[in-house]
Symmetry: C2
Subunit: 486 residues, 2 copies
């Protein structure tokens, strides 16, 4: 932590390492590169998404070596340009979102009011506003470095609520614990269970239906199975918008089961859907969850990282579970209300002021503007699906519920051959072949994967406001062009 | 994760939420605010370090509310200015460091080569260079969101090496474990132990000497104590440059003990000292550690966050311990060498490209430039101590070893009264009173704290290149001015 750094100022004109004018010129030049190459060109359809190079070749093209001596202005600027050139263009002309530069410029770590007065208050406003969308009039929360860490928080709090002695005495003081998530749930739940000493074998994977939604009856069965093995269930992780199929777990039914067995209900994903009056029914029952992992850096494109962990609890569980009460940060004899010193809620020392990214965008476009973004993403997903169905070579894996569109491209040579014994084998090679061509040509960037007995397909996510009718047609035509001869 | 986002581009001129020209103008205006208010004024000695307001008042001054409708350009820009005004100025004219804007602009999450080709290679170069400073010709590593998370990595790996079954079966499959760190060690070790299910009571705090260095004989005693209680020691966390006193634990002696008992030796802090040929002897024995937590965002001021976790292991422990092998990220049938897909080493999904911040600064000033920074920080710490000793009202808590200078200011009314019964009581109120005055006047920002029976003192850290002779005198004079009447 920076706490005791001497934060006062000096004359910038002296010292061999800081040439003020030269530094300013470099920063200005770099800002120009950011504006022109990253933001404007990166948003130009005529530009490639990536300029693919194999690792060995890319290493030759970039001058990555760190040397004994510093490099001059022009060489550094050239390096910056090369870096931009060979990076994947994730940007679109979302200028308001670029305000995350301000987060970096202020370089603030948030743990006490005195070091981050503005952001302590701002985080409070943003979290409270997000909670009210969930349907909680009160509660708690914190911004985390990514959704995986938010899930770690949830698992730790759920365990602490059920067995507070774990904090002091460790897991040896309690019976074997059990966690539940669906087969389609995010793998960060497994990583968290492993890291928290619970173990992968104590994560019970609940079956899903064809569309990828958790089956409540199987959840009950798995809970009973765990209990019959002597394990104590304490957490169910439900998902709104699973990673692959974008499936929405049935929250009300899961909440019923959690209430019956006294389990913590964690909800991951989908948060931004709550902005949409039209679509928020997909998350009906959400207010019954105990905590929620919400990643505005996904659907709202606030820029990485911006992940909120929201909590219904009003008993200061977050602080009790994580506090270390170190005297050098959280003195009781401070001259202001120390309840504003929120750093001890964190498993980190301080945390970045990621709330600013969401706050500024929200302030700029309003709740209404965010709603429009979400509705637009739903609209274009449906448009893509509709256009896909008109074409011969495209086959959906499941009917999309969210922004995820999973599909196979069937090249002409395989159409109508579904019953041949070579069909699956050859179809499995189509997506990788198209993917390689699109990356090498830099025209698009989508992934592929096999899943649950299904051979390689394209799992796509449509984010607003990144897409238009024109883009949808480009996508479909481009896949036909790249895979027509396979 | 963003993996399947449709990363191709659209014409930026359309859509109600994206007005390209307006957005560009706003970003340009904000950049001006960053340059003028944050970087230049923030570096001006005539400006306040903070513009203190109580929480209630600050809430009134800022327009934090999030509304249904978006706000216009001028209002937003005004908000940005207010935000800057009331935030603590952490900045100095370190323009090269501001290149972290580029990290934000590229908005890349690093988990596979195909999504972050430049940064996968760059992280590799930076980690390897840092390892070579430690003295490891081979090894592994990853950039983490802060030192606390790096320590979580170390504890998880150490446990996995000792008891790989924990990953699958949880802590119930192994005996009670024990962790060791000094009484001066960073509290993140306790937070990590609690979160990983080991429990605070299984963190044994080893005694330190007067200067804050771990006592090796007490480490042996504590290990034997743990064993006598039936616990199994597996990890010793040593520190180079403790948080408060900047103490250096005796690494060679600790390494001897770790070798004898077969324990993982984690080293936290101090990494940047290794750049200095003159001072790296403070960390003699470091190459015998198993892992190291290195935060260039501290002494090298790379900007938050930039924290490297370095590892001596060459058996791919990081991957084995953390891998989830999810098919949608890490396909085996990719068209390039998938050993470059490093994401599965992380407990997160992807991680930010924080390596860029250090790389660019290193490239700009060279290894030699970084060495000069470190040496300069040592120089000015010694200068501060020397000047302090010349003055009557200042008393060092311990003789500084690193950048940390812990001291009491003894106001005239207390000088020579060391033996009165009210002395300690009244001295304990001096630092808080001076602190309140400095914050309200915005002249400086340093903390205070009690520790180990010592009443409130100032624990200061001198970072290069933030300080000059002139600043040292300002600091001492300012404290005399603020506390002269107490």
């Amino acid at each position: 932590c920076f706490i005791y750094s001497l934060a006062f100022c000096q004359d910038g004109q002296k010292g061999p390492l800081i040439d003020h004018a030269e530094g300013q010129r470099f920063l200005n030049d770099t800002f120009k590169v950011i504006m022109e190459e990253v933001l404007s060109k990166g948003a130009d359809v005529k530009e490639k998404v990536c300029e693919w190079r194999d690792p060995a070749e890319l290493r030759r093209l970039l001058d990555l070596e760190l040397l004994e001596d510093g490099q001059p202005h022009d060489h550094l600027l050239q390096q910056v340009k090369e870096m931009v050139k060979y990076s994947v263009k994730t940007n679109h002309p979302r200028f308001y979102n670029q305000l995350r530069f301000l987060t970096e410029a202020l370089n603030t770590s948030q743990y006490t009011y005195e070091v981050a007065p503005v952001f302590v208050l701002m985080e409070d406003v943003v979290l409270s506003k997000l909670r009210s969308l969930v349907g909680w009039s009160d509660g708690d929360g914190i911004f985390c470095p990514g959704g995986s860490v938010s899930n770690i928080y949830a698992m730790n709090l759920a365990r602490y609520r059920a067995f507070p002695q774990v904090k002091l005495k460790g897991l040896w003081s309690v019976p074997r614990l059990a966690v539940f998530t669906s087969e389609e749930g995010h793998y960060s739940i497994c990583k968290a269970a492993s890291m928290q000493g619970i173990g992968l074998e104590n994560v019970f994977l609940v079956k899903t239906n064809e569309s990828g939604c958790m089956l409540p009856e199987d959840l009950t069965d798995k809970i009973e199975l765990a209990k019959s093995q002597g394990a104590v269930p304490f957490l169910v992780s439900a998902t709104s918008g699973t990673t692959i199929h974008g499936a929405f777990d049935p929250l009300d039914l899961i909440a019923d089961i959690c209430e019956k067995y006294g389990l913590w209900m964690l909800l991951g994903g989908g948060g931004s859907v709550l902005f949409s009056k039209k679509h928020r029914h997909l998350m009906k029952g959400i207010e019954r969850a105990d905590s929620m992992t919400w990643n505005p850096h996904k659907m709202l494109l606030t820029g990485l990282q911006c992940s909120a962990f929201l909590l219904k609890d009003t008993t200061d569980l977050l602080k009790h579970c994580h506090c270390a009460n170190v005297t050098y940060l959280f003195q009781k004899d401070k001259f202001y209300d120390v309840s504003f010193d929120t750093g001890d809620k964190s498993i980190q020392c301080g945390h970045k002021v990621d709330c600013l990214k969401l706050w500024l965008m929200w302030k700029a476009v309003g709740t209404r503007g965010l709603e429009e973004r979400v509705d637009k993403a739903f609209f274009y997903t449906r448009y893509l699906v509709q256009e896909m169905k008109k074409k011969e070579g495209f086959q959906l894996v499941t009917e999309p519920q969210f922004m995820n569109v999973c599909f196979w491209f069937i090249p002409p040579s395989l159409r109508g051959k579904q019953n041949s014994d070579y069909y699956q084998e050859r179809l499995s090679k189509v997506a990788p072949a198209i993917k390689e061509r699109m990356v090498r040509q830099g025209s698009m960037m989508i992934g592929y994967q096999p899943q649950a007995g299904r051979v390689n397909f394209f799992p796509m996510i449509v984010h607003s406001p990144q897409i238009s009718e024109q883009d949808v047609h480009f996508l479909l035509n481009e896949i036909e062009r790249l895979g027509g001869d396979l």
